[in-house]
Amino acid sequence: MAKKMGRRARKFAKKNLQSVMKRKRKLNALFQKKFAPRRAQSDSPEESKNLKNDMQTPVDPEQEILDGIVSTNPFGDLFIKEDDDSAADASDSDGYLSEDPECPYISEDEEESCPEEMCKDVVLLEQNTEINQRLKNQKRKLSKLCKKDPQFSKFLESRRSEFLKSKSEEIYSDDEGDTSSMDDEYIVGNEISQVSKVITSSTVDVWCWLVMEQPNWPGLANLLNAFRAACHYGLDTGEVSPVKIANREVFCKILTFVLSEAKRIFCGLLRISGFSNKETILKMKNKPEWKTTRSLIKSFLRSSLFLLNQETDNQILVFVLSQIRLSILLFSAFPSLTKKLIKISIHLWVTGDKDLSASSFLILRDIASEFSLDNIDTCLTKGFGAFIANSKFMKPQNIEHIEFLENSVVELYSLDIQKSYQKVLMSVQQLASILRLALKTKEKDELKKIHSWQYINCISLWVKFVSCNYKNHDLEQLLFLIIGVIKGIAHLFPGPRYLPLRFKCVKMLNQLSFSSGVFIPVESLLFDCLEIRGTNNAEGTKLKHLDLALLLKVPNQLLKSQDFQQASVLSAIKLLAEHLSQWCYHVSFPDLATIPLILLKRFHENTSIESVRRPVKRFIDQVQQNSDFIQRKRDEVSFSPKDKESVDSFLQLEKCDRSVAFTKFYDNMLQNALA
């Protein structure tokens, strides 16, 4: 029915409302022109992206990024499928709701007389006045011409109509698709002919009050239309909105009110207490109220999405996201909108600042945990893809952000292990096969693939995933595979140049060992750095701070520097302490510490770097102390190594207390590192 109406209305308009259509087309045509100056002003990528989206250009920057990974990144293409959001976008033609004619409009002459009062953009204002001036001049000139030659105005008219005719043909060919997809939209056929109503602040106040008082108040549609207009404000797509927002207070009020009260309003309409879980939504769909509320809800959600897409300010976005999140379950009724929401949230999650990233992550997490399996899949896939695409570079500025992204991906994947296990396994296997190839061929290109932040971040992501979930799930196979891959990386890049990479590997191995309780020997990977010998005090290139965490490979000029040696020895000691601390209650600790102790003592004797002597000495003493302690303790016991239970119970009491000196030493070390 609705569909038919929409189409009929359109046909009617085409036939009888020639002039109106003309105007519409004209606006359309000019709309395209206006982007030229506009784009020059808006240099933020987000805005330009939104513009593009609006014009329904097939290429969407985010997609490009993903595509980029697919082509450049063999391990990023894991589960990124071709996403056909463009189709969904097209079908989601947006329109105004049919309004309640009874709705009170309090006209009040409060049209903002001076829009400039608040605007800080002086340049734009100046530009406006300048253009205005020029416009006046040109208009004068034109009218002079017309006056001079009356035939010219006729000519002008004919040219313009010709031009528009050619334009309109294109438009109509596009429009056919639209009309068919306008289901359940009460498109108001004669909306154009309507004079747009001005909404004043008192009108809004009255509306708000009414909405709050009577849940079934029909004027809600008007309010939502106003909300839509507010969301679309400043970016009219050629259509004339039936409402006009009078001033900024109205704008602000509409947005904040609708966003924050939406949950209450819709709950009231549907007569439910709240959207607690999926079942309520399913139930709600069967309710008779659903039919009437559906379009209202859809309009609200769509407008909010539009706002999200448009907005560039982080705080506003955080606000909108947090409000949307309250009623996020509404999205589950509209799969295409959900998809859009996922896309937007992922974009914001990846690009936004701390708060924005966090709130978009919450949205994603909600979708992944509450929605249908399909959506979880999309969330996981896209989330991982976006993470990979954004982890190409590590800088001091983004290290925190990447860590947050990494944690969020782990959170998302941990929601449903059964489901995500396959994906993770696939990803790790892909990483392993890349590594295998590199180990076999040792070709430069293959090595480069592994020696990249993307690869390392990917591995560290899955390491985190495994260590978070190992306790509750059977991830042994995955664990062994990952250990193999990490060991392979360490093996593939020997030599002091790659020490930072090796430290990362050891760190990950420690992490895995700690969470899974299996023994992973890492000591031999660290002995190397005790043997680097550079020229002492070479070149005098003192760096302020050498952060090995930000490097994979040490630049050549640093290789011989004392800073690097110092940093590497200290990191090695830290990692060694990490490794030893895990087993410091184990009966075989003295044996585990034997070789490191011998080598460290020798290093301590021979090293020429004074600055590392003290920490090394301290470390040796601590290890020795713990070793002696365990030795004493185990001399007292009577069980043999093969007595597994007794071995496991050895010193468990002390372990729980964390009372041994070495634990304290290690905790101290960690705290120092944090400070």
């Binding site: 000019l30 022109k33 100056p37 608040m118 605007c119 953009d121 530009q127 416009l135 208009k139 000139k141 034109l142 030659d149 002008l156 400043g234 970016l235 927002i245 001033n247 904040t256 300010d313 705080q315 955080v318 606000f319 966090a358 709130s359 919450l362 782990v410 959170e411 941990s414 292990i417 059964q418 396959q422 590594l435 180990l439 076999k440 985190k464 799930h473 059977d474 995955l478 595979l481 093996h491 899974s516 299996v518 023994f519 992973i520 020997p521 000591e523 031999s524 990977l525 002995f527 043997e531 010998r533 075989s588 034997t594 490191p596 102790l597 011998i598 043999s640 190594p641 093969k642 071995v647």
Partner: protein, 835 residues
């Protein structure tokens, strides 16, 4: 014609068209002779450019004449066009580039002239190019005819060319340039073809065409290096093919005097020609070897000759050059030489072993001259030598020995030449017995020298090889002593100063069974010194861990083969291995060498002293706690072997209070002792194994578990544990690549049985997450208002721009309107006029 002459007369005009590129059919020439009006197609040419060129080239030729000429021609052309249809089409095309040529052309013309003159001379055409006259046409005709008979038509496109002398001038310029490129190419191709032809002839019938060798040789003197290379290569191919399977002995004078049959004469002639050419060829190659640009080709030829015909005359000369280059810094040359030498060693049947000896002797000289500073490859080749001790023995017995040997110890390099000295005696007995019949057999089968001769040769070769090895060892120990005080930084690159040590050790290991007992003492001393461990750490030893391990391995190999004859204490080597275990670094040192050392020193051979065995068991267990899976696995396998052999050491598996009673001198375990005998390991307990059972690698954890259970089992049953795996095998099996390719299962089974979503955060702090969500609403409101305001201004801006554009376009339309109006008016006026 007179007309024409006036135009073309300029004496310093360039010669006509590229002669050897242009084929002119007789018909064309005739046609030209008969039809003087051919000039017709000039009309289609760019007369201006022609004028220009004519003027430039010809200097001060009168313009008037030309103008006249042109005019007349144009008229004539109208009449003649039909006749020259095809020419008309071709010539402009040829002439086209003329248009684009500019002032520079003048130089070019001169150049072309010269180069052309050269080529013409080469082709033995006697014409004087500069003399351009009417007579020329005929001369040219003649020459062209000669040419044509000599070659086949190749440049069809140019066939039409000849005709007009006037046009020729143009062509000369255009084509001269093309020609130069072509002539070089052409010449090259011609020579190439010639080479191929001669080569083929030689291959087809060497007896008849043996003289062509000289011609081929001549080609190698060509100025063009490519031709030289080709010549050398084709000669190589020819020689490889036609050189007979025997050494040519030129007839003595006496023999020459004797009257012989025609066939013999012919054969003699053939052989002497072949030998002379070969000699000349080699001389050329040897000369070229000194030229950097041709060195590679020369060495390639020499190397493949050595490979293909090592039995033939002048082998010594070739060998000398090849061995000289065996340590060349150029990778390809070195590789060629090494491969050639290797093939000499491997295919002794081809030359009867003489060449082997010569090569080894030459290498020894090289080593001596360069004081061991050669490329490792040059010593590496020696390891492909084979010393056949079974010379003259019946096959059956030899095989039986081989099988026996295989059962006892498998050598990794697959050589089956290892011999126990105790077997030598029996072998020699049987050798004497069967010598006669075998020599008879040999003689009937091959031309090789008899076994006694071969034996002599082999022993000479062998002594030369060991001379090389000992020289290197001596040099290494000397420099070791002198270097021990030098900078510590060189430690990790220690091997670079002793490039030959590694292959030398490898070779010694391989031929250890052949070493003369007299040398044994010195050798062991050397090795001990090289492997030497000092208490002050590794710094004083410039050798890498792998090399030191290799020293130990060689020492053990040598000892094992001569156990009865010698009584040298190997304790020092055990001490070194004990300490080297700590020096070993994965990825820097070769794990396979370590595994082999473990195998040879600990798994094989006689029983160990209990103290030492215990010390090694303890150290290996500790070692496997710190190192990667492959190393750990090798260590554990060795450990298991040791435990099996030394049943008393199984006490280490038990935490037995009485264990200390066995410990002897040292009652408490000293982990950092450097001497295994003083470590007191017997008093320790293998606690390591309990941690190793937690090892992520399942094979290691199960290995550790199985070792742990050994203690409790009755020693009588210990046979059960006898595993055949060697440390080396274990090392390879658990390498990283193997670890990576293990299959993984496809599903994760949750420990919580029912599938439910995990709602808790696993990583993040939920409170932090929630708090992060709080937004200052006032701030948001303010920002929203700002946004509104900005958007309003922007909208306004857009609207204004829109209108401005609109107006501007309207104004610009006015001009169009005016134009149209004017046109309309014109049209109407025209129509009015037309009417």
């Amino acid at each position: 014609m007179g007309k024409k002459r006036k135009v073309i007369l300029p004496p310093d005009l360039p010669p006509e068209v590229a002669d050897n590129d242009i084929e002119v059919s007789d018909e064309d020439l005739e046609f030209i002779g008969q039809n003087r009006e051919y000039a017709g197609f000039l009309t289609k040419l760019d007369t201006k450019s022609i004028d220009r060129h004519v003027k430039r080239v010809a200097g001060h030729e009168s313009d008037d004449l030309e103008a006249l000429y042109e005019q007349r021609k144009r008229k004539a052309s109208l009449l003649k066009q039909n006749d020259d249809d095809d020419k008309l089409q071709v010539d402009p095309v040829d002439a086209l580039p003329v248009k684009t040529l500019d002032g520079k052309l003048e130089y070019r013309t001169v150049d072309r002239t010269k180069s052309e003159a050269i080529t013409n001379e080469k082709d033995n055409t006697e014409e004087n190019e500069k003399d351009m006259s009417v007579v020329k046409l005929t001369k040219k005709e003649k020459r062209l005819k000669i040419k044509k008979s000599r070659k086949e038509a190749k440049k069809e496109a140019k066939v039409e060319e000849k005709g007009n002398v006037g046009v020729e001038k143009l062509h000369t310029e255009v084509l001269a340039k093309v020609e130069e490129d072509l002539s070089a190419e052409e010449l090259f191709r011609k020579k190439k073809i010639k080479l191929a032809e001669i080569g083929l002839q030689l291959l087809e019938n060497p007896e008849e065409n043996i003289k062509s060798l000289k011609e081929l040789l001549k080609n190698c003197d060509d100025g063009n290096q490519n031709i030289v290379k080709l010549g050398l290569m084709s000669l190589l191919a020819v020689f490889k093919d036609i050189i007979p399977g025997y050494r040519i002995r030129l007839p003595t004078e006496k023999e020459m005097e004797m009257t012989v049959s025609k066939a013999v004469l012919k054969q003699r002639f053939y052989e002497s020609t072949l030998l002379n050419s070969y000699k000349a060829y080699l001389a050329k190659l040897i000369a070229m070897e000194k030229k950097p640009s041709l060195r590679q080709v020369a060495v390639r030829c020499l190397a493949s000759l050595l490979d293909a015909v090592p039995h033939f005359n002048y082998r010594e000369n070739i060998l000398a050059i090849v061995i000289k280059n065996i340590s060349s810094p150029d990778d390809t040359i070195r590789k060629l030489c090494c491969n050639a030498t290797k093939s000499i060693f491997l295919n002794e049947g081809k030359h009867g072993g003489e060449a082997t000896f010569e090569a080894v002797r030459l290498i020894a000289q090289q080593v001596k001259i360069y004081e061991c500073q050669l490329h490792p490859d040059s010593i590496e080749v020696l390891s492909s030598l084979t010393f056949d001790e079974d010379i003259g023995k019946p096959d059956t017995q030899a095989e039986a020995v081989k099988i026996k040997k295989k059962g006892k110890w498998k050598t990794p390099d697959g050589s089956n030449k290892l011999q126990g000295s105790e077997k030598k005696k029996t072998r020699q007995e049987s050798l004497a017995k069967t010598r006669e019949e075998v020599t008879a057999d040999f003689k009937s089968v091959s031309f090789a020298p008899d076994s006694r001769e071969r034996k002599r040769m082999q022993s000479e070769t062998l002594s030369a090889v060991f001379e090389i090895y000992f020289r290197i060892l001596k040099h290494s120990t000397d420099s070791h002593a002198s270097r021990s005080t030098t900078d510590a930084a060189s430690f990790s690159h220690g091997s670079s100063s002793l490039p030959l040590l590694a292959p030398c050790l490898k070779g010694l290991g391989k031929f250890s069974h052949l070493i003369d007992l007299d040398f044994m003492g010195d050798l062991m001393r050397c090795l001990k010194q090289l492997a030497g461990y000092s208490d002050h750490g590794t710094i004083q030893n410039p050798l890498s861990v792998s090399e030191r391990l290799q020293c130990c391995i060689v020492a053990f190999r040598v000892m094992r083969n001569n156990l009865e004859a010698l009584n040298i204490d190997l304790q020092d080597f055990f001490v070194q291995l004990y300490n080297l275990l700590l020096e070993y670094r994965p990825d820097r040192d070769q794990g396979e060498v370590l595994a082999e050392a473990l195998k040879i020193m600990l798994c094989e051979g006689k029983q160990h002293d209990m103290q030492r065995a215990a010390a090694f068991i303890k150290r290996l267990a500790t070692f496997s706690l710190s190192y990667g899976s492959a190393e750990a696995m090798a260590a554990l396998v060795t450990l298991k072997h040791l435990l099996q052999k030394n049943s008393k050491c199984r006490n280490l598996l038990e935490n037995d209070a009485g264990g200390g009673s066995l410990s002897g001198l040292v009652s408490k375990y000293q982990p950092d002792a450097t001497d295994p005998n003083l470590s007191g390991a017997l008093g320790s307990v293998l606690w390591e194994l309990s941690l190793l059972t937690k090892h992520y690698n399942s094979s290691i954890s199960s290995m550790a578990a199985s070792i742990m259970s050994m203690g409790s089992v009755n020693p009588a049953q210990s046979q059960v544990f006898l595993s055949t795996a060697s440390p080396l095998q274990a090392f390879r099996d658990s390498s990283i690549l193997c670890e990576l390719s293990k299959p993984t299962s496809k599903s994760a089974t949750s420990r919580q049985k029912q599938r439910e979503l995990q709602k808790d955060y696993v990583l993040m702090d939920p409170e932090v997450m929630q708090n992060g969500n709080l937004v200052d609403e006032d701030e948001v409101r303010r920002k929203l208002e700002d946004r509104f305001a900005v958007h309003k201004v922007i909208t306004e801006n857009e609207r204004l721009r829109k209108e401005l554009n609109h107006t501007l376009s309207s104004i610009s339309l006015y001009e169009e309107y005016n134009r149209q109006k004017k046109q309309k008016r014109k049209r109407t006026t025209k129509r009015v006029l037309g009417d």
